[in-house]
């Protein structure tokens, strides 16, 4: 019997240097993910980490597990394919608010209702960082610092956790990049929870939204016991200020997974064509 020494955070980091700006919240999310992987104690090769396009979506390359950096908005679809094809893998998905809620919004709704067992982290900075600072679906309507929308978008933002609840996600949480240990704990809980787990991580974009540095003053921990009933979670979220952290809903819907059992040979199947 070989005794494997437990892996460390360093073992889960790759040697690729992040492109992120100094001070970007995404550095802390990377730390949180690696801490969660240490805690999960799953062999590196059993983890698939999937993302789309954006600053945040670069994250898989900075970890030391199997990963797929796909196209803009489609991470959840790739991830669903991975998990449905290989139920034995632990599937993590990450990306930005634009990637997941704008171009990929339809997949978000269907990932919530399909409830495939995987954990999705949206690194929400209320902006398109990668394309240099345009409004995203979570940007406030009066934010005027983008050349594309100099008068603000004038459009109500979506509240990702409410959307997730309405669409049927089985586990919903919110974290703050400034508290990476808490985020790591949420990721571990999300992975352990069956079905689709959604974690919104407030991750400041220090370059295009420097005012988000102040988020650390706004975040506050929610109640210890997460609601298990949709109605109760809805009620609480109705008065949520967007800065409550912790687990916001832990449901008990069974995860979706087609059953696989060989009950026929090719020859049996081909018999139908014989006249």
């Amino acid at each position: 019997m070989t005794i494997q020494s437990p892996l460390t955070v360093q073992d889960f980091k790759s040697d690729v240097k992040p492109i992120w700006c100094p001070g970007c919240g995404d550095h802390a999310v990377l730390l949180a993910v690696t801490k969660a992987l240490v805690e999960l104690n799953t062999p590196r090769e059993q983890i698939a980490f999937i993302s789309g396009i954006g600053c945040s979506s670069r994250i898989p390359a900075y970890t030391n597990v199997y990963g797929f950096h796909g196209v803009h908005g489609r991470a959840l679809a790739i991830a669903a394919g991975v998990k449905l094809a290989r139920p034995d893998l632990t599937v993590l998905v990450a990306g930005g608010d634009g990637d997941g809620l704008s171009i990929g919004g339809n997949h978000f709704m269907h990932a919530c209702r399909r409830n495939v067992d995987m954990t999705y982290v949206i690194m929400d900075n209320e902006v398109y960082g990668m394309t240099k600072g345009q409004a995203s679906p979570t940007t406030a309507p009066d934010w005027c610092n983008s050349k594309l929308t100099p008068h603000g978008t004038g459009v109500s933002p979506v509240e990702p956790v409410r959307l997730a609840l309405a669409a049927g996600a089985n586990f919903i949480a919110r974290g703050f990049a400034g508290n990476p240990n808490d985020v790591a704990r949420l990721i571990v809980e999300g992975v352990h929870h069956p079905g689709f787990s959604f974690i919104q991580v407030l991750s400041p974009c220090v370059t295009y939204r420097p005012e988000q540095r102040e988020w650390k003053q706004s975040v506050h921990a929610g109640q210890d016991q997460p609601p298990q009933l949709v109605a109760e979670a809805m009620h609480r979220l109705a008065s949520d200020d967007g800065f409550t952290t912790g687990v916001l809903f832990a449901g008990n819907r069974p995860a979706f997974m087609p059953e696989r059992k060989v009950t026929a040979s090719f020859a049996d199947i081909e018999k139908k064509f014989a006249s």
Partner: protein, 570 residues
């Protein structure tokens, strides 16, 4: 006597034209003939007018004939919508039920013979009788198909419905057969020469599904679309029974990406769609090119652009399949050239996609996808998914390593020590994003080179016959071309057929060889803008005179059109 007979059965929804057509085809198979049936449907979701177009033959066929020998309208309903698809000659016979009124001008205009057959009245005299079965009995007798074969098929199919139903149907068949004795004659089938050979009855879409299964596909994600849905409907239970899985995705953007995920995770994966869905998928097919993820996309072409004509055929997705991806994105495009070939072409595509770690698009179309054929049981072709994988813990493993073949070992999640991140960003050999000119060039060369260097054997094209005239064609139009060349040969005109199966990558050296000695080229295709002709011009040297027969769907190209061109050229 002729080697083939063509019958059109038409009627409004509920008249049973399609059922009669199916039974006719099955009975032909039962009697040892070959056959082909296409359907023409109106736009109604249920009911509405329908035509079952059946051709029965003593040799394998993959084309409709120039005209129908027999037209049986159970009613005249909306026949005007079909009349262009029902060419008749002066020797054709229309079996018209006087109760349904006069032959409408759009049909009468063909100048065919008309005989009265009181289908409804004959059926009405039999308790539980149906006019379509009376018609079927008359048709079988007129064309020389043994009624015993029809009864054998009905006995099998109606077993569950009980004695009474079977007795009523049999009585109708016999009433029709008796009535036929007093009708003018039509050409008859030869007495069947093939004994008890095992025949298969399969649609092109089912054949594509079977090819996928035989090739080793284990995961399918897709979104329903006409005329590709039957590929999926066939695959769903078949995969379930053989340990695979099919998921219905929320749209084609999801289905192609789910398939990428399934393949990345190690399972040979496929999706099927039609033009509108293919348009949505193109960005992600490019991702599969860049990340070297094997997958198969079946596109069952229909009339375009936009929603176009969903229920009818056209060869107008060639451009998007070949040129639709942004960037320099070499990939595989394979076109089956008959309903039967949908099996081989799809199975081969699974093999190519997996061997070359590339997306492969299978360009089928509505004409072959939704036609049913009676064929000899297809032989095993041995093409299966085989992916090059590294050893576990391969030292210094690099996912996109530059190799002689251009194919690099692809690690699968679960293999220890080989984890990597697949990327659609340009990357170096390890997979790390890179915008360096040298990495870009090296990876572009690699991705193009691996497709080019591969040995596709003789399957790149079907080449038949010889002569100074070559007919270059592709897809379902190959059927009528093959038949036209056969007829021309019988009249002393020699022509060679080159039906291109491997559209991408192109095979210029093989084509040059095939065109040796050719002085005239006839290109035959079904698109308005001559997509195939322009594709050939862009990639191949066509010798001497070039003539093009190209027109859009939905009307099928018939052998006589091509035969006339060949004769005019002599």
């Amino acid at each position: 006597m002729s080697y083939s007979i063509s019958v059109a059965l038409t009627g409004s929804g509920g008249a049973g034209a399609m059922t009669a057509g199916q039974i006719l085809l099955d009975s032909a198979a039962q009697a040892g003939f070959y056959g082909l049936m296409t359907r023409s449907m109106g736009p109604q979701i249920r009911g509405g007018e329908a035509a079952a177009l059946v051709r029965i033959s003593s040799v394998p066929i993959s084309s409709l004939d120039d005209h129908y020998d027999l037209l049986v309208p159970f009613d005249w309903g909306n026949i005007n919508r079909f009349s262009a698809e029902l060419p008749l000659s002066s020797s054709s016979l229309i079996l018209a039920d006087p109760e349904q009124g006069d032959v409408p001008p759009s049909i009468a205009g063909y100048g065919a013979r008309v005989a009265a057959l009181p289908l409804k009245a004959l059926a009405g005299a039999i308790p539980g009788g149906r006019a379509n079965m009376v018609g079927l009995g008359a048709v079988a007798t007129l064309i020389g198909l043994p009624i015993a074969s029809v009864i054998a098929v009905l006995t099998k199919q109606l077993a569950r419905k009980g004695e009474e139903v079977l007795a009523a149907s049999t009585a109708c068949l016999e009433a029709g057969a008796q009535a036929a004795a007093g009708l003018p004659s039509v050409t008859k089938l030869p007495s069947q020469p093939h004994g008890e050979a095992l025949r298969w009855n399969i649609s092109g879409n089912e054949a594509a599904g079977l090819g996928a299964l035989r090739g080793g596909i284990k995961f399918v994600a897709a979104y329903p679309i006409t005329p590709a849905t039957e590929v999926l409907e066939w695959l769903a239970p078949a995969l379930e029974k053989t340990g695979g899985a099919l998921v219905q995705a929320e749209d084609e953007l999801a289905s192609i990406n789910m398939v990428i995920g399934g393949s990345f995770a190690g399972l040979p994966s496929l999706t099927a769609t039609s033009g509108p869905g293919l348009s949505l998928m193109t960005e992600s097919i490019g991702l599969a090119v860049a990340s070297e993820t094997p997958l198969v996309v079946i596109d069952v072409m229909r009339g375009g652009p936009s929603t176009g004509i969903p229920t009818k055929s056209e060869q107008s997705d060639l451009n998007i399949a070949v040129y639709g991806l942004h960037g320099d994105a070499p990939h595989v495009v394979v076109a089956p050239n008959s309903a039967t070939d949908c099996l081989f072409a799809t199975q081969w595509s699974v093999h190519l996609a997996e061997a070359l770690q590339t997306p492969a698009i299978v360009l089928s179309d509505q004409a072959m996808g939704q036609s049913r054929v009676v064929i000899d049981k297809p032989a095993e072709n041995g093409f299966v998914a085989q992916r090059l994988v590294p050893e576990a813990d391969a030292p210094g493993y690099q996912r996109y390593a530059l190799t002689n073949s251009g194919v690099s070992p692809m690690a699968i999640p679960g293999m220890a020590g080989n984890n990597y991140v697949a990327d659609g960003l340009e990357h170096n050999e390890r997979g790390t994003p890179s915008s360096q000119a040298s990495d870009h060039l090296a990876q572009l060369d690699k991705r193009a080179g691996k497709l080019d260097a591969f040995d596709y054997g003789e399957h790149w094209a079907d080449i038949e016959g010889d002569g100074e005239i070559a007919v270059i064609t592709w897809g379902s139009v190959t059927g009528p071309v093959r038949e036209a060349i056969g007829r021309a040969r019988a009249k002393g005109i020699k022509a060679k057929m080159i039906s291109l199966r491997l559209i991408l990558p192109t095979r210029p050296a093989q084509m040059q060889e095939a065109l040796k000695g050719v002085k005239k080229v006839l290109v035959v295709e079904q698109s308005h803008s001559q997509q195939f002709h322009k594709f050939l011009r862009g990639h191949y040297d066509l010798p001497g005179d070039v003539l093009v027969v190209s027109r859009p769907g939905p009307l099928p190209i018939r052998p006589a059109e091509i035969e006339t061109r060949l004769a005019a050229w002599k």
